[in-house]
Symmetry: C2
Subunit: 182 residues, 2 copies
DNA sequence: AATGACATGTAAGAGGTTACATGATTGT
DNA sequence: ACAATCATGTAACCTCTTACATGTCATT
């Protein structure tokens, strides 16, 4: 039993708006990226599979520049498929945090090097925090326009908490490492 | 350029103690698991590769039960390899949080179902928090015995922050979803 | 003339999961 | 008798990343 989550990410993104593969990628990068990233080499083949299975339909449109684009729309079948998946228990969270390994084995290198690593980590998460706040503001501004935004906002708030605690940990840890130096 | 992180996880675990593949797996599950999981089908082949490359050596021992076990030890070469890796910038963090997708697309299902999902998420993270606290206590109790424990403790504290904010988010979100019901 | 956005894809390889396979010893 | 722990592995499959490949249009 293969449960291909990529399919459901795409169905979810198409659930209230038709889009091209290119558009789907943009939504993933700007909204889901840090918590469920996928890329073109997964998106395009999966779109064809979903179409073959009847969950979405394709129509060829021409954009403002006169270029062809394949616009995909969810079908009722696809919407049901999505809903069924939403009811199933979510898979446990998985994380790959290389920095935790590098700090955990940290007695092998100098404090200066560790501080550098933590600072880079901090910067990554500050950047992602800013991104999350931008998304939050966008969603809040459109809360009355679409009920879906409320739920996306709940989801994004978890991201905000994660990134905040990452920055927080980094600050504490840099201080600790610095005081150890003396 | 393949940078196989599994190799470095293993070198890191072997850096201050010789162990079997079975032992390495236990360390991963009990200490690194939530932030960098690997399993037997990665561990055993990688041990053989590291041995072939001269980073570790194998010797066959017999345990208290009289069973054979392959005990691996890090070499100087392996320690240098580990240190070089520790100095390289850590790869950006990656997360797979299916729950965020399920909440994000949540207007498709009932509030009751969403609350169930968030509760399950909460329970997962409460369990992991307890685990992290147990590890913290173990490490704190042995802080003077081994300098390495100090760094592992720093690393584990990030885990504690993550799980705490997950539980926190879950509580807030369950309240929000319940009040929406009425 | 160059850059960035729009647009769609493939191939190869690396990384990771799950199921299978086996067998001894220890504790309840 | 049964479950847990110790111990080592393979095979098949799925997922994911990276590099390659191409072309248009709009803006600077």
């Amino acid at each position: 039993m293969k449960e291909n989550t990529t399919e459901y990410v795409i169905l979810g993104i198409l659930r209230n708006k038709s889009r091209t593969g290119y558009d789907i990628n943009k939504v993933v990068k700007t909204r889901l990226g840090p918590f469920w990233d996928i890329n073109y080499s997964q998106i395009y083949p999966t779109l064809r599979e979903l179409e073959k299975g009847g969950a979405i339909t394709k129509r060829v449109e021409i954009n403002e520049r006169g270029q062809n684009r394949n616009v995909y729309s969810i079908t009722n079948e696809g919407k049901n498929k999505l809903k069924e998946w939403l009811l199933k228990p979510a898979k446990p969270e998985k994380h790959k945090i290389e920095l935790m390994l590098k700090i955990g084995f940290g007695e092998q290198v100098s404090n200066t090097e560790l501080i550098k690593q933590v600072q880079a980590f901090r910067e990554r998460h500050v950047a992602q925090l800013e991104n999350v706040y931008r998304i939050e503001n966008e969603l809040k501004a459109q809360l009355d326009q679409n009920e879906a935004n409320y739920f996306m906002l709940l989801s994004v708030e978890l991201g905000a908490k994660f990134h905040l605690s990452a920055v927080d940990w980094a600050d504490t840890t840099i201080t600790k490492l610095r005081s150890r130096d003396k």
